[in-house]
């Protein structure tokens, strides 16, 4: 019964979202502010409604209601409580509900903001939020009902229905199928929420962009309002991507963090357009140019978010057939098509209002370099998108099924990434409006010389690999340029304000958090680049079958097999096999013990390989237990990777989060402060 109640609440939430759209449009067109206010309240109501529906679903998950199909598919009795809760987003129906729930939280937040100065945006922001939300709740209501129950007809067939069919009885399996073991990892528990938070929060800037187009208020007001939304969205999306990479590294057992899988690319594409957007809005704020382009970027980001949500959950793009079989596939594409056409249509309708206010003056100006940056991001987007849809196109037109794997993406995107790094080195030194070869050269030669020295040293001490050296040169250049810019600012401040250098650094960052947060982000990207270059170019691996006491050698390390044990944990429904290996360096010093593991989950009948990792800044020894014969302990197969520099990637990720938080941290709104002061003044005068 409780499941039916949950479904009922979902239906009400769906109708509420639709009503808010209707009331907002009607109220705006008929000039009835009361209706708009009603729309706003309807929007606010969706969050408690969806929270209630989600609460019901979690209740069902936690209390083993296996008559509910979704619960049956993603949980089992042996799963601990926290996993039963997070299984909420472990399947398609639940994750759609999770999406709508987060979306409603964000639209509620945005409708609660102070609207005094931009009242005219409000109805249209509600419309965009409401339409998006209605679409996702509609998916749950009509196609992917998380509350559908299993019924057995008298013919013996068991299937899930929302409403009990005639001549059938409720079917309650004794246990569920359990969550895919790969998803029972802490990284997997926070990775999807982060990614979805990123996805959902990008809807807000899009909603304001549409509101600006519809109302014709196409100045950069909408960009200023949504700047922090976009930054937080970007933070969540980036954190989601990084966590996903870390999860893959720790759980998937292939010694890597990124495999150019369509699901990964699905989350990467909105990140690309979002990053381009964050850069190009600065041109509009500073110079009043490229308004069409910014609109287009946020529209693309929005539709790629929808596309990504759909891809990450269904993966149906791998084949034409599975796409046609999926009920929600065509609907998603119809929704993307409609929103894309409507939004682009609005840009064309407002084309003249979006004309640039100033002119470009130099090819080397900051704005020109930002445009180049956008071109490169778009290039990576095109490669990614083409790689994802190419198998479909090939199958459709030639009947030949193909795989587009990492070699394609790596070859096609690496020059573009190198170009981005070069821009990261040059652009911070260029000025808005105009820069010449002379001014830029004057600022650039010192860091470039420094980078050349670093590269030469590396060529003699570390590697002769040309690609690596080019990469390290660019990394060094960007780091030096960024530090140079940072240091120059702080020194100037020290001199003009008489502050000590640390205070100067602190105040400088505080006074222009976006710029200096951005610089920290650039630095963090370079740390990540060091890790990526290391693992991509210098990773080595070996595999061998060892008896106890045997050892394997790789890249100066010796890995000695000490023992293995296997035991069941009936409570958790898992069999663990754990080996102990010792790692020695080239001089025979013991560096430590590693415990590579293989966990076998009974409910899903799936294994999971947990590596043993010995990490340092230089490299990481990563040992996998591949195969083990229980009868004959003499033969255990290990795979060993040595991943040079990989931990710089994770260090960079942490610094990256710091940078984005600095950039996105809310300012004290000066207007709000004055309003508060005025109010206080009024109150005191009233008291007098």
């Amino acid at each position: 019964m409780i499941a039916d109640f949950g479904y009922g609440v979902l239906v009400v939430a769906f109708l509420t979202a639709l009503y808010s759209v209707y009331a907002a449009v009607y109220g705006e067109l008929k000039k009835k502010p009361a209706m708009v206010e009603s729309a706003r309240r309807a929007m606010l109501l969706t969050w408690p409604l969806l929270t209630l529906a989600a609460g019901v679903l979690v209740y069902l998950l936690v209390n083993d209601h296996y008559e509910v199909q979704f619960v049956y598919e993603v949980t089992s009795r042996s799963m601990p409580l926290y996993l039963k809760v997070t299984a909420w987003w472990g399947g398609q129906a639940g994750s759609l509900l999770f999406w709508s729930w987060l979306m409603s939280a964000f639209t509620s937040l945005v409708t609660l903001r102070k609207w005094d100065r931009d009242r005219e945006f409000l109805p249209w922001v509600i419309v965009v939020g409401g339409v998006t939300m209605a679409f996702f709740i509609g998916m749950n209501v009509f196609f992917e009902n998380p509350f559908a129950k299993l019924y057995q007809t008298f013919g013996g067939e068991i299937a899930a229905y929302t409403i009990q069919p005639a001549n059938s009885i409720l079917f309650t399996p004794s246990d569920g199928r359990g969550l895919n073991p790969l998803l029972r990892h802490p990284g997997m528990i926070i990775h999807p929420p982060m990614l979805y938070l990123g996805f959902v929060s990008f809807v807000i800037p899009y909603a304001f962009a549409m509101a600006a187009l519809i109302t014709g208020r196409t100045d950069d007001r909408w960009i200023r309002i949504t700047r922090r939304w976009a930054l937080w969205a970007w933070l969540f999306l980036s954190a989601g991507l990084v966590l996903g990479g870390r999860w893959a590294y720790d759980v998937l057992g292939w010694g890597g963090y990124w495999g150019w899988d369509p699901v990964e690319i699905a989350a990467f594409m909105p990140w690309l357009t979002g990053t381009a957007f964050l850069h190009s809005v600065m041109i509009q704020e500073k110079r009043g140019m490229f308004k069409h382009w910014n609109m287009l970027l946020i529209i693309l980001t929005y539709d790629l978010v929808i596309f990504g949500t759909f891809l990450t959950r269904s993966g149906v793009l791998s084949s034409v057939h599975s796409f046609a079989q999926s009920a929600i596939g065509p609907l998603f594409f119809a929704f993307i098509g409609v929103t894309l056409i409507t939004s682009v249509g609005l840009i064309i309708y407002r084309w003249d209002l979006l004309k640039s206010e100033t002119q470009m003056t130099s090819l080397l100006s900051r704005e020109a370099l930002f445009l180049l940056n956008n071109l490169l991001f778009m290039g990576i987007l095109v490669v990614s998108f083409w790689g994802v849809i190419y198998p479909l196109i090939s199958e459709l037109f030639t009947g030949q099924k193909v795989t587009v794997g990492p070699p394609f993406y790596e070859r096609a995107t690496s020059p573009l990434f190198a170009g981005l790094m070069l821009l990261m080195g040059v652009a911070p030194l260029s000025a808005w409006g105009h820069s010449t070869v002379k001014t830029l050269g004057r600022a650039l030669w010192k860091p470039a010389l420094g980078a050349a020295i670093v590269t030469t040293v590396l060529a003699f001490t570390y590697t002769r690999n040309v690609i690596a050296l080019v990469g390290f040169f660019l990394v060094a250049l960007v780091i030096l340029v960024t530090l140079y810019e940072y240091g120059r600012g702080a020194l100037a401040r020290q001199r003009s304000q008489g502050e000590n250098i640390f205070v100067a650094f602190w105040n400088l960052t505080g006074r222009n958090r976006r710029r200096y947060g951005g610089y920290i982000i650039h630095l963090s990207m370079m740390l990540m680049a060091i890790g990526i270059l290391g693992i991509e170019l210098f990773q080595v691996e070996t595999q061998g079958t060892l008896a106890i006491g045997d050892s394997l050698e790789l890249a100066g390390y010796t890995i000695k097999y000490k023992e293995v044990a296997s035991w069941d944990n009936p409570g958790a429904g898992v069999n663990y096999t754990r080996a102990v290996v010792e790692v020695y360096d080239a001089n025979g010093n013991l560096l430590g013990n590693l415990h590579p593991r293989k966990d076998f989950y009974f409910d899903t009948q799936q294994p999971m390989t947990i590596p043993g990792q010995l990490a340092s800044l230089k490299d990481e020894v990563y040992v996998l237990l591949i195969d083990w014969e229980p009868i004959n302990q003499e033969s255990t197969t290990f795979k060993i990777f040595v991943n040079p520099l990989v931990n710089w990637l994770w260090l960079g990720s942490l610094l990256f989060l710091v940078g984005v938080i600095i950039a996105a941290w809310p300012d004290k709104d000066p207007q709000r402060v004055t309003v508060r002061a005025e109010r206080r003044a009024r109150q005191t005068s009233a008291a007098d």
Binding site: M360, M378, K401, T403, A492
Partner: protein
């Protein structure tokens, strides 16, 4: 040894040759089995670039399924038979289609479209640059601080200005 036999007993020549052949063959196969059995690393090197039709996006060298294990054994066998990397890949393509390869076989088709799209974007951008940029007249209208006499103070001023704008 067979040479000595040859000299001593000429009439037993055919038999001797046969014996020699058999012995050398046997020797050859044992030597082969001991030294040339392909290692896991040799197998993985090829498996890394292959994908089985079932396990999407998981290269064969790391795929834990039983089917993929059998494929790896197949690679090992073929390596033992002396086949080259190309021949082995071709074997899988013939039996399972081009999707086992990590890249579409038709490279022109797979790279051309993104390359053209990128070039088109670059072309549009640079044509746009030429259109947008106003020649010298405007540039001189913008106050330049290129040849400012005290660059450091100027830098501070510009920075302060930008910081103020941000507020």
């Amino acid at each position: 040894m067979s040479n000595i036999k040859l000299r001593i007993t000429n009439y037993k020549l055919p038999l001797a040759i046969l014996l020699a052949l058999v012995v050398s063959l046997l020797l050859a196969t044992t030597v082969f089995a001991q030294d040339d059995m392909p290692t896991d690393d040799e197998v993985n090197k090829i498996a890394k670039e292959l994908y089985c039709p079932v396990c999407e996006s998981t290269p064969l060298d790391v795929c834990p399924t039983e089917a993929c294990r059998q494929w790896r054994e197949l690679i090992r066998q073929q390596l033992a038979e002396g086949k080259s990397e190309e021949e082995i890949k071709q074997y899988f393509v013939t039996h399972y289609g081009a999707r086992v390869l990590s890249e579409p076989p038709n490279r022109i088709a797979s790279y051309l479209v993104p390359a053209l799209a990128f070039l088109a974007g670059a072309f549009l951008l640079f044509r746009g640059f030429r259109m947008w940029i106003k020649p010298v007249a405007v540039e001189s209208a913008v106050p330049t601080d290129d040849a400012a006499p005290v660059p450091q103070d100027d830098y501070i001023r510009r920075m302060e200005e930008e910081l103020k704008k941000r507020k």
